[in-house]
């Protein structure tokens, strides 16, 4: 059950589930999100899911209180919603130091070797929690605690598209070139976001993801295709 439902500015309703990131909260949030999507309520522009919250964005400012009441009733409706089938994404990553410019930092902070970093990063199966921060940027959970590394104290002005990174307790992939404060450990030729495609990003919450190590020749082959 959500903890709070409140107005967030003139256009949005914020529904919060407290401060604990866990699977049952995630399922509850996604069930509710799917019910809202399936209702095709024409007052709603879009919804956004994060770890512990669901934000409902409205098209106008007029119907905000009316929509809060509607949401409360919808939440209590008992029909079970089917969530979309989750996929497993296998993402090739080149961990060559040419791309993994902070590999040594991650290794040193954790007192392990670079080979250990690559092993631990590729061994895990990650869950996609939601997409945010940048177009197509997946928030992943499941990073091995032995790879936790604080963000850089000074972000870089720009890093390459496809950079694979670790920031604090999180790992992710930068789908477009961007300023970045995370530690860069490799690069993937996989395209996470393409504005020319419909949909531009196919990764969905609850999908799973694995990183597969490739060498620099394989990387070059994949990028020349």
């Amino acid at each position: 059950m959500f903890k709070k439902i409140e107005v967030f500015g003139q256009h949005a309703i914020l529904i919060s589930w407290g401060n604990n990131i866990n699977k049952s909260t995630s399922i509850d949030i996604h069930q509710f999100n799917q019910k809202i999507i399936n209702s095709h309520n024409k007052l709603i522009s879009e919804t956004l899911v994060t770890y512990c919250s669901l934000t409902v964005y409205l098209k106008d400012t007029f119907h905000i209180k009316h929509t809060i009441n509607w949401l409360k009733k919808l939440y209590l409706a008992t029909k079970n919603t089917t969530l979309p089938q989750s996929k497993i994404w296998k993402i090739p990553v080149c961990y060559d130091p040419k791309f993994g410019i902070d590999l040594q930092t991650v290794a040193s902070v954790n007192n392990i070797s670079i080979d250990d970093v690559i092993f631990l990063h590729t061994q895990a199966t990650y869950r996609v929690n939601f997409i945010g921060f940048l177009p197509g940027f997946p928030y992943l959970s499941g990073l091995n605690p032995r790879l936790y590394t604080p963000r850089r104290s000074k972000p870089r002005a720009q890093i390459a598209r496809g950079s694979v990174a670790i920031g604090g307790q999180q790992t992710g992939v930068y789908p477009i070139k961007s300023p970045a404060g995370w530690q860069i450990i490799g690069r993937t030729p996989a395209v996470f976001f393409d504005s020319q495609k419909n949909p531009p990003c196919s990764m969905l919450p609850f999908d799973k993801l694995q990183f597969i190590a490739i060498n620099i020749d394989q990387y070059r082959q994949l990028t020349d295709d």
């Binding site: 914020l14 956004l48 994060t50 400012t61 990003c201």
Partner: protein, 276 residues
């Protein structure tokens, strides 16, 4: 079409924004000062979501190859504001230095015909091929058939260019703040830092010991004011990211976002709390 002779400081095509893709991390973008952008379209009887040119601080120089009607709104430039202007073919228009604000909007009858990407013409790096116009760019518009009879000048919202009462709501994390910090957000003046851009406006201040804990990443929107652990106040604007990990202490009203977009660097503002 319009040919860009000089691109000004930052000229881009914007409409009211890109909706429907925030769940995959796509910011809304769109005109910074939507009050002025909408007025420019209204003067020409355009659709409210017709794309306009947004110019910042230094205006562009444009050549119009066919007759058309334009309207210019927002801050002051070399071109008369808030009325319909007939431009004859092959005229070169220099918008010059922009004063008494940051942004001007040039609407053209029937709107700009650039490519719609993800349901919007608004420029955004990583979504549209360009984030701003450059010399030599060509912009399409439709040629006009009817004469527009309206020649009157209309007034823009007089509150738009005043800085003393920027209306805000409490943000989701406002109640977690120390009471002294809560008070200081309303009895202090803040000035606009030169670091500011279409993504965020940084506010300079003299408040000591102002801080807030990071939050578990949650949603943010244009108008969300974040407070970082190191005491930095950041107002997220139209190109801001869709999620964030800093405390959301205040939320600007829709009109306040437009007002704030026009406050010049180093000028001071004050917030006024709306009790909802």
């Amino acid at each position: 079409m319009i040919e860009v002779i000089s691109a000004g400081l930052h000229t881009s095509i914007q409409d009211l924004g890109r909706f429907g893709f925030r769940h995959i991390g796509v910011p809304i973008s769109g005109a910074m000062d939507q009050t002025s952008a909408q007025l420019a379209n209204a003067l020409l009887n355009n659709n409210p979501d017709a794309a306009v040119l947004e110019m910042c601080i230094i205006g562009a120089t444009l050549k119009f190859t066919k007759d058309c009607y334009i309207a210019v709104t927002g801050a002051q430039s070399s071109i008369k504001n808030n009325s319909v202007i007939f431009v004859v073919e092959n005229t070169i228009v220099d918008f010059g230095r922009i004063k008494n604000g940051n942004y001007i909007y040039m609407a053209i009858k029937r709107g700009i015909n650039s490519k719609n990407i993800l349901k919007s013409r608004s420029f955004y790096q990583g979504i549209t091929p360009q984030s701003q116009l450059k010399v030599g760019d060509k912009i399409n518009y439709q040629t006009i058939e009817n004469n527009i009879l309206n020649r009157s000048t209309i007034k823009n919202n007089s509150q738009l260019f005043q800085n003393n009462k920027i209306a805000v709501f409490k943000g989701p994390e406002f109640d977690l703040l120390d009471k002294k910090i809560q008070k200081s957000l309303f009895n202090q003046q803040f000035s606009i830092s030169s670091k500011s851009n279409r993504m965020s406006i940084f506010l300079d201040h003299n408040i000591s010991n102002i801080t807030a804990n990071e939050i578990i990443t949650s949603s943010v929107q244009p108008g969300t004011i974040q407070l970082t652990p190191s005491g930095q106040l950041i107002v997220l604007m139209r190109d801001a990211q869709t999620t964030g990990g800093y405390a959301r202490v205040l939320q600007l009203s829709d009109f306040a976002i437009n007002q704030l977009s026009q406050v010049q660097i180093h000028q001071k503002i004050k917030f006024a709390l709306i009790n909802s």
